[in-house]
């Protein structure tokens, strides 16, 4: 069993759900999360060039554009972008198929399309019936 954690755009959730349903894996958990990636949130990336050299002194760690923006209460800083996190537990053999389908449907080609992580799951139990592992997620 594998756990597929897909962090995707909010407006792609209905389509993604439909695709999962068509594949035969309709069970999922959805959570509202805030996230950021390589672009450091919505506005921080373009602030890289605006950070003055003088801000870089006396800090143990490399100072960052967002730190500068927050320090100077600049209005442009947006640390996070709202996203939806879908958690789907599927059998090992369909992981690639499900991941590829999610990627296909939630892709816009622009930054912020999200990430998908695949992690191992050791066990599963359906509380109502007591079924375990494979039967529990079927």
């Amino acid at each position: 069993m594998k756990e597929i954690i897909a962090i995707i755009r909010r407006d792609k959730v209905p389509e993604t759900k439909q695709v999962l349903e068509d594949l035969g894996y309709p069970s999922l958990t959805i959570q509202s999360v805030d996230g950021r990636g390589k672009q450091k949130g919505a506005m921080c990336a373009e602030m890289d060039s605006e950070m003055p050299e003088s801000f870089c002194t006396a800090a143990k760690l490399k100072p960052t554009p967002s730190a500068y923006a927050i320090d100077h209460t600049l209005p442009k800083v947006a640390l996070y972008v709202p996203k939806r996190m879908l958690t789907i537990v599927v059998p090992d053999d369909v992981v690639t198929k499900v991941v590829k389908s999610i990627m296909k449907v939630s892709r816009t080609g622009k930054h912020g399309d999200g990430k998908i992580f695949v992690a191992p799951i050791d066990g599963a139990l359906r509380i109502r019936t007591g079924e375990t592992d494979g039967e529990a997620i079927a």
Binding site: Q31, V33, G35, K40, G109, K110, K115, I116, F117, P120
Partner: protein
């Protein structure tokens, strides 16, 4: 790859995230959660709080960066008082970027 899930004080979140960004780990997912630990919540006089608000930060890093990130979070999220939170590390097989379809972080 490793998934690091850090349950920290909400007021420490910004400090931790900025420190991680400074160390070269800008990517993070956060969500608000409620939980309790060994102390079974918090007792303030006659009032008992069973669940306390925390912020959950989820960070996926390469194996070799795990220790560095965990130490950084610990250093920044620490106050020395009960309720500083916990950090859990679990394995991740693969990561995909949706925009490009590429594997890897």
């Amino acid at each position: 790859m490793k998934m690091i899930r850090a349950f920290i004080r909400p007021e420490k979140e910004q400090e931790v995230v900025l420190a991680l960004e400074g160390a070269g780990f800008p990517s993070v997912t956060k969500m608000p959660v409620f939980g309790r630990g060994k102390q079974k919540g918090l007792q303030v006089g006659p009032v008992h709080y069973d669940e306390l608000p925390k912020t959950l930060l989820m960070i996926i890093v390469d194996d070799e960066d795990e220790g560095k990130v965990v130490h950084l979070i610990q250093e920044k999220a620490r106050t020395g008082f009960i309720g500083d939170g916990k950090i859990f590390v679990s394995p991740v097989d693969t990561a995909y970027t949706v925009r490009t379809g590429e594997e890897g972080l």
